[in-house]
């Protein structure tokens, strides 16, 4: 393991890493200070810049083929903090920048400061917290130190929770409160694991730790606590109770960001923990448990999605199910096997395609709810005729969720399926297939009435530009299905081989 040189020096392009975090932080502070409409302007101004930085990081990474590193303050780990970007980080940075920008653009219609008022509550909060989500996710993807990452997940919590209850209804406030309690509990258990790891090894730097850890009780307890805490934040079954009310009742732009990105932040850290910190600790049993919980989530979440009467709740339960897929990669990314790279790519593809598809679907559902004044599924008959573009976006997103070709979801599930068969564990493949069928079921429940020829009257037709945002996201989810091989090579940059038997 050539960990030491990686840990100890900033690389070319490393400055981009801190810039990706500091830029939205500056945006948060400037937005609060100047207030009112300026918050929106600052946020919309920074988004293209931030996207540029994310792309630049990806280009540097692509050119060098090695993870980017930046050592903050010149103090090398373990005393100081390093930021690192690998292939997974880079694609997540780009995805985050895109979806945050899309949500921002979409939300301009709802969270514009009303004329005649210098500042209003919900708009100011939204624009500041949207940037905060962006800043904290960038930190989650780049942080190389477990305590620094603790601060990142706390930032994420503080950014995400108030977004749930911007409309101040009792329902959403109670959803936000439950979300906050789950999230805080999750972070505190994560922190507990951090304390134990520091006590055992005297460093919290991911690369240094990965060299020092060995399979011993303290590591298992620490990793167990951290994983449990992060699972609560990721809402993996059976810790998903907070998610549906929070995601389904938030304003659509917020739901999109929460479902597409925020839960992925804690998932990303679980991947970092097991594949970044503990690659030298064989963890097949844990992987099996995670995958089993993931399978349960797929089946359980899909069945519940089938029973929902509200469109946004259906999408929220579908998130519970789709999160399950992410964990199917764990037992397949083990040991020096041939299929590991496939499973790794499949897991990341699922993360990305679900992010785009789910964001598109929530935004589309938001448009439907705004135009109809409700989102009851049984009263959606004929929506396809009056809002074709919105429904098309919704349908394309659904295509990716079902895993039908051509889509990112298909590619993700295909890669995972292939890996599971090559690994001789078709059970995970079977779960994926049945999950796809169930997804088809719950989407059919929406699409069938929506495409019926009934006449439906809209309260107000949606704005074209906002429909276009949802459609663009859905198309991105589809376009991921055409990712070239070079893209998969990119995803492998910085992946550490995981120890363990070749089963």
């Amino acid at each position: 393991m050539n960990a030491a040189p990686i840990a100890s020096a900033s690389t070319a392009g490393g400055s981009l890493l801190w810039l990706a975090i500091i830029l939205p932080v500056v945006g948060i502070l400037a937005s609060l200070l100047s207030g009112g409409r300026h918050a929106e302007r600052i946020a919309l101004l920074l988004m293209p810049t931030g996207f540029g930085i994310a792309i630049a990081i990806a280009i540097f990474l692509w050119r060098s083929g090695q993870p980017l590193v930046y050592v903050i303050g010149g103090f090398n780990p373990p005393l100081g903090i390093a930021l690192r970007a690998d292939g997974f980080s880079a694609v997540m940075l780009v995805t985050t920048a895109l979806i945050v920008a899309a949500a921002g653009f979409y939300a301009r219609a709802i969270f514009a400061t009303p004329p005649g008022i210098t500042e209003a509550r919900a708009p100011l909060t939204f624009w500041i917290l949207l940037q905060a989500i962006w800043a904290s996710l960038n930190l989650v993807f780049l942080g190389g130190d477990l305590f620094n990452l603790y601060v990142a997940i706390e930032l994420l919590t503080f950014a995400a929770v108030p977004l749930v209850c911007l409309d101040s209804r009792a329902e959403t406030i109670s959803a936000a409160l439950r979300y906050l309690l789950f999230a805080l509990c999750g972070s505190v258990f994560y922190l507990l694991g951090v304390a134990l790891l520091y006590g055992a090894y005297g460093t919290l730097d991911i690369v240094l730790l990965s060299d020092r850890v060995s399979s011993e009780p303290v590591v298992w307890v620490a990793a167990g606590l951290m994983t449990a805490g992060l699972l609560a934040k990721t809402a993996l079954f059976p810790l998903h109770l907070w998610l549906p009310p929070a995601h389904a009742n938030a304003p659509a732009a917020c739901s999109a960001v929460l479902s597409a990105l925020v839960v992925k932040g804690s998932f990303f850290l679980i991947v970092r923990l097991w594949f970044g910190v503990l690659p030298n600790v064989p963890h097949e049993a844990v992987s099996f448990i995670l995958a089993a919980l993931g399978s349960a989530a797929i089946l359980f979440g899909s069945v519940l999605a089938l029973q929902q009467e509200r469109l946004k709740l259906l999408i929220a339960y579908s998130t519970v199910a789709q999160i399950g897929y992410l964990f199917l990669m764990f037992p397949l990314v083990q040991g020096p096997n041939l299929w590991v790279a496939e499973a790794w790519s499949g897991g990341i593809m699922q993360t990305l395609s679900h992010a785009f598809a789910k964001a598109a679907m929530f935004l589309a559902a938001g448009l439907i709810a705004e135009s109809l004044g409700h989102d009851r599924i049984r009263d959606l008959r004929g929506i396809g005729a009056v809002m074709p573009m919105t429904l098309f976006a919704f349908g394309l997103g659904g295509l990716s969720l079902m895993g039908l070709p051509p889509s990112g979801g298909f590619l993700a599930k295909w890669l995972l399926l292939k890996a599971s068969i090559e690994a001789g564990r078709p059970i995970w493949g079977a779960v994926m297939l049945s999950g796809g069928l169930l997804a088809a079921g719950y989407l059919y429940r929406v699409l069938a009435p929506a495409l019926s020829s009934d006449i439906l009257h809209l309260k107000a037709p949606p704005r074209r530009s906002r429909e276009a945002v949802a459609l663009a996201l859905a198309l991105t989810a589809i376009a991921l299905g055409f990712a070239p091989k070079a893209f998969f090579d990119f995803l492998q940059i910085g992946r550490v081989a995981v120890a363990g038997g070749s089963s």
């Binding site: 500091i22 932080v25 609060l32 903050i72 103090f75 373990p78 500042e119 990142a152 005297g202």
Partner: protein, 316 residues
Amino acid sequence: MSILQILDIGLAGLVLAVAAWTVFARDAFAAVVGFVAYGLLLSLVWVRLFAVDVALTEAAIGSGVTGVLLIGAAGRLRKLEASGGDDELPGASLRLFAAALCIFVTLVLAGVVLSLPDPGPTLAPEAARHLAETGLGNPITAVLLSYRSFDTMLEKVVLVLAVVGVWSLAADQYWGGAAGNPRGAEPDGTRALLAQVLPPLGILIGIHMVWVGADEPGGAFQGGAILAAMWMITMMAGLTEMPSIRSRLLRLVLVAGPAVFVAVGVAGVAFASGVFAYPTGFAKPLILFIEAFMTLSIAVTLPVLVAGPPKRLRQQ
């Protein structure tokens, strides 16, 4: 030595008893009072762990400011819960399961903690080695403002986000208003006396804590929390009021700490070896400069968080 041990064991028992009380007390207010006592005892424990900086923080934030926050909340909840009826405990089986789980967690943790190496791995020598570069005498301040200043800066941003989150819970019509209720007409000499005598002394002590924090236990957090408490007491006495959340000055002070921190950090790219690095020889003055603004921000942020969302439009 043995007396100290007895003292430690007594203190441990006391902490646990009070903690148990806050969990098992029937009345929410009684539990909150228990928690205030708990915070106080905890700062004694921190002194015994040779963590005086932490003890100071716990005394000021963990016990003092949190105590006011919780007591205030308990009082308001008591007024709001007219009908009561939410005291039903979960079923016995769930409680039994929870108890088993918690005992399990405790035992596993205790086992693991005892198995940790002693003396354990440490960064103390590393921290000591670089201490001269920072010009500081207090290694904790060096960690917070130099080695790991990135964490500290981000944690200031957490405070800003908490303020935004709390404000976001205002009713729409009060946006731009101020938090807290204006004090009634009832004249209150006692409180006013306290609010006149205490703050000058408190401000002195707060600044002292920031100033000595470079070399001795203390620092921006502790000093800022003390200053925060002083502002809170003048508000409790009705001598000062929470400003409107739209006040430019208030917002400037709220973001000043993290903003100056970020600015100095980024300036490190031009004037030092990189971001959040200090130019050689200028570390200490720059750290004190940042700390001054951080202290100010903390002193304002904590009362703003305690006061809660705006609830009235300021008459003026």
